[in-house]
């Protein structure tokens, strides 16, 4: 059983538009297609996992009308829910995809409500209870206001105490504290800033250096998926490079691609695959997700087709 954590969930609204026209006093656009779904990175992983039949529990903080909508829609997906309620309304995020420019969407996010200590205590109680019945915890996304920057460290440590694997997918200032707890796998999110652990990512060597800093804290695997070179997976004693053929991808919607990657990795680890093979599959799941309008690609044949476009090579000894 997998547990996903989304401390700052959102309801995702995706609009595909032909163009945005000036009409009278507004720049008006009528969407020719829309997709809405419960979101936030951990929840997206849950949706991916449920779509391939991997039983999972979604935890996190929800509130108000939007919170109820999220809970209901996860229930319809077959995901086990165990949320902590807050008094404020959960945020909604918007992505607008203009025809022909789907690879450069307009994304409007809001910060999300401020979280009180009382809520965090309640969440921690529920989290500790859930650790009794899961084998892997996925910690994804940013933290909402009011939650200490080091919160992922605490969550990873609690899981490790109980002997549970942890996978962390977060960006910016949340990477370092999480890495310090030494999770099983960490994938820093570097879409917004090509930097991690104060290390600018400019070429393969800088990526490997940044990865090593995280391994030093006891992290077992670091995945840096970045689009600068091939994607790089680093363990204590090995480095792998994964090269995907992204040229021929028809971009329909990038939202959820990174979460499909994490979902794909966990799905394959559950099936007993090695970490490098699982990562290769995860990349394929991410690429397949980009090619469908829905946030998550539910068709595994599309994933398998992408898998053939990805090569996995051992680069050598990471200690050198």
């Amino acid at each position: 059983m997998i547990l996903t954590i989304t401390l700052n969930p959102a309801y995702d609204l995706i609009y595909w538009v032909k163009e945005i026209e000036q009409k009278g006093e507004t720049q008006l656009s009528r969407a020719f297609r829309t997709h809405s779904s419960a979101g936030g990175k951990g929840i997206n992983v849950s949706i991916y996992l449920a779509s391939v039949g991997v039983e999972n529990i979604a935890m996190g903080l929800i509130g108000g009308h939007t919170g109820r909508t999220i809970k209901r829609s996860l229930r319809e997906e077959g995901i086990i829910t165990n949320f902590t309620w807050i008094s404020e309304e959960t945020r909604s995020n918007v992505a607008i995809l203009k025809k022909g420019q789907e690879d450069n969407p307009i994304e409007i996010n809001s910060t999300g409500p401020e979280i009180s200590e009382r809520v965090l205590d309640q969440f921690m109680e529920q989290y500790e209870t859930m650790l009794h019945r899961v084998s892997c915890v996925v910690l994804s996304g940013s933290l909402p206001p009011g939650v200490p920057k080091s919160y992922y460290r605490k969550l990873v440590e609690k899981a490790k105490e109980t002997g549970i694997r942890t996978v962390v997918n977060t960006g910016g200032e949340y990477v370092r504290p999480a890495a310090k707890a030494g999770p099983f796998l960490i994938k820093p999110d570097i879409r917004e800033r090509k930097e991690v652990m104060d290390q600018a990512l400019t070429n393969s060597q800088s990526i490997i250096d940044a990865g090593r800093k995280m391994l030093d804290f006891g992290t077992e695997f670091v995945l840096l998926s970045h689009g600068l070179t091939g994607d790089i997976l680093i363990s204590k004693d090995k480095i792998w490079e994964l090269k995907a053929n992204r040229e021929e991808l028809t971009v329909r919607n990038r939202v959820g691609a990174g979460d499909s990657l994490i979902g794909g990795i966990i799905h394959q680890l559950e099936e007993g695959k090695s970490v490098p093979e699982a990562v290769r599959y995860g990349l394929a799941a991410g690429m397949a997700s980009v090619e469908v309008y829905e946030k998550i690609c539910r068709d595994t044949s599309l994933v398998r087709a992408q898998l053939e476009e990805i090569t996995l090579n051992e680069l050598g000894d990471s200690t050198k």
């Binding site: 109820r68 809970k71 229930r75 086990i80 165990n82 008094s87 109680e125 209870t129 859930m130 019945r133």
Partner: protein, 144 residues
């Protein structure tokens, strides 16, 4: 069909050491009339509903309502509730909780729900850990 085909896989519950105040917050936000009570490991140890809260605040409230002779003041109830709101739910929960397991036949749960006039029945695994809930509405949804 079995319980697992009709149950709601929602683990909303209250811990035995939580206060009535926390319970009331949860019931209000989740719009549930009652929730299972669990221990630290997630084992179901009771069930508590709005009705139990009223009973806790004013033990003879329902009695009073049933005897037409005297109708109690609702403010009285609010005041008593104020006094006990920090008490743990374990003091007021129903301990002898009716639960089912995922592999039971749906007809058996239907029987339980109707016989005992229940709205919700917790579903537990072989260790007594909460895995979901069967709501009267799930049962009817399966039929209709």
């Amino acid at each position: 069909m079995r319980v697992k085909d009709i149950m709601t896989r929602d683990l909303t519950a209250v811990r035995e050491n939580q206060s009535l105040k926390a319970l009331i917050f949860l019931l209000e936000k989740s719009e549930l009339s009652g929730v299972p009570v669990i221990d630290k490991r997630g084992t179901v140890v009771g069930f508590i509903s709005e009705r139990d809260v009223i009973q806790a605040a004013l033990p003879n409230y329902f009695e009073m309502l049933r005897t037409a002779s005297y109708l109690p003041d609702i403010n009285q109830l609010s005041r008593r509730l104020e006094e006990i709101k920090e008490d743990p739910v374990s003091e007021y929960m129903v301990e002898d909780v009716i639960s089912v397991d995922e592999d039971e036949e749906d007809i058996h749960v239907a029987d339980l729900i109707i016989r005992n006039e229940l709205n919700r029945v917790p579903v537990v695994d072989e260790d007594g850990m909460l895995t979901g809930i069967v709501q009267r509405i799930d049962l009817l949804g399966a039929l209709l």
